[in-house]
Amino acid sequence: MPIPEEERFESYLKEFRPVAPPRLPVEPPALPWRHWVLFAAPAAAAILLLAVAFSLHTRPDGSAKAIPGGQVPAERLQVGAPLTLGSANSRLASGPSVRTVLDEMSFPSTATPPKGKASALAVLSKEKIRL
């Protein structure tokens, strides 16, 4: 049976708390793969949303509906507009023949230049060039 004085002194000693040692130098365990999925899935979704938002933002206003395959409607093609794969595909699809379309693309003789501008051929034809 412990003596009360001993108990009191023991309680007094317990008030002195041993100093805690520094942290154990252990590398934290790697996260299980399912934890990586939990982090990666929202990140991938966010990136996808950003990409979609960006692509929608960069589309021209009042644009016609996109044609599957990325082709541009033939009526949108303008003289002087750069020839792209999409515009070429569209011309080939809507043209009478491949030969005709290719000729038109190469030598647009009936093309009308935009307002305020003249074709190079028209300008050169007016000049009197002496050789």
Binding site: V19, L24, P29
Partner: protein, 168 residues
């Protein structure tokens, strides 16, 4: 991989819970806090590599036993007697009474190693005399009597230097 991380977490939890008392116990044997800290950390790092802790029935007692063996082996190889580390604190004293902390450290150092071990294990390790007797390979009665002698000597040493201690 999951098993290893679970073991790491368990050991880290045991280190946080029992680390202070283990370091104090090791310091009670070596007299030096730095060496005691190193010894305790080495024990835990070794346990991380091996799987023996899971087989122990009483994990706390097993940890104290590992630390004791490590410290005694190291002391034997060094061939040094214990000397009190005057600078390193062993305790956080109540009401920041650092003079009392130094008193306690010195009083502990004046005890024999056997008495120091028993008193640290019982008071701060919170081990029963049965657990202490198994750890130190002595009888429960021997553990209890060493404890009483140690407590009496500690009280005499500390209370002689202070006006009062543990006397409300």
């Amino acid at each position: 991989m999951q098993l290893i991380s679970r073991r790491t977490r368990e050991l880290e939890s045991l280190y946080r819970q029992h680390g202070p008392a283990l370091v104090l116990f090791a310091a009670a044997i070596t007299g030096e806090r730095e060496r005691a800290q190193d010894a305790v950390q080495q024990v835990f790092l070794k346990l991380l590599q091996e799987n023996r802790l899971e087989q122990a029935e009483d994990k706390k007692a097993y940890l104290f036993a590992c630390v004791r063996n490590a410290v005694l082996n190291e002391a034997r190889s060094r061939g040094r007697n214990t000397s009190l580390d005057a600078d390193a604190m062993f305790f956080e004293p109540p009401q920041r009474d650092y003079a009392a902390e130094l008193n306690l450290r010195r009083a502990l150092h004046e005890l024999s190693q056997e008495q120091r071990e028993v008193i640290v294990l019982h008071v701060w390790g919170e081990m029963t005399f049965a657990q202490i007797s198994e750890l130190l390979e002595i009888s429960s009665n021997t553990a209890a009597s060493r404890y009483r002698y140690a407590l009496t000597k500690l009280r005499a040493a500390m209370c002689a230097k202070e006006d009062s201690c543990a006397n409300p």
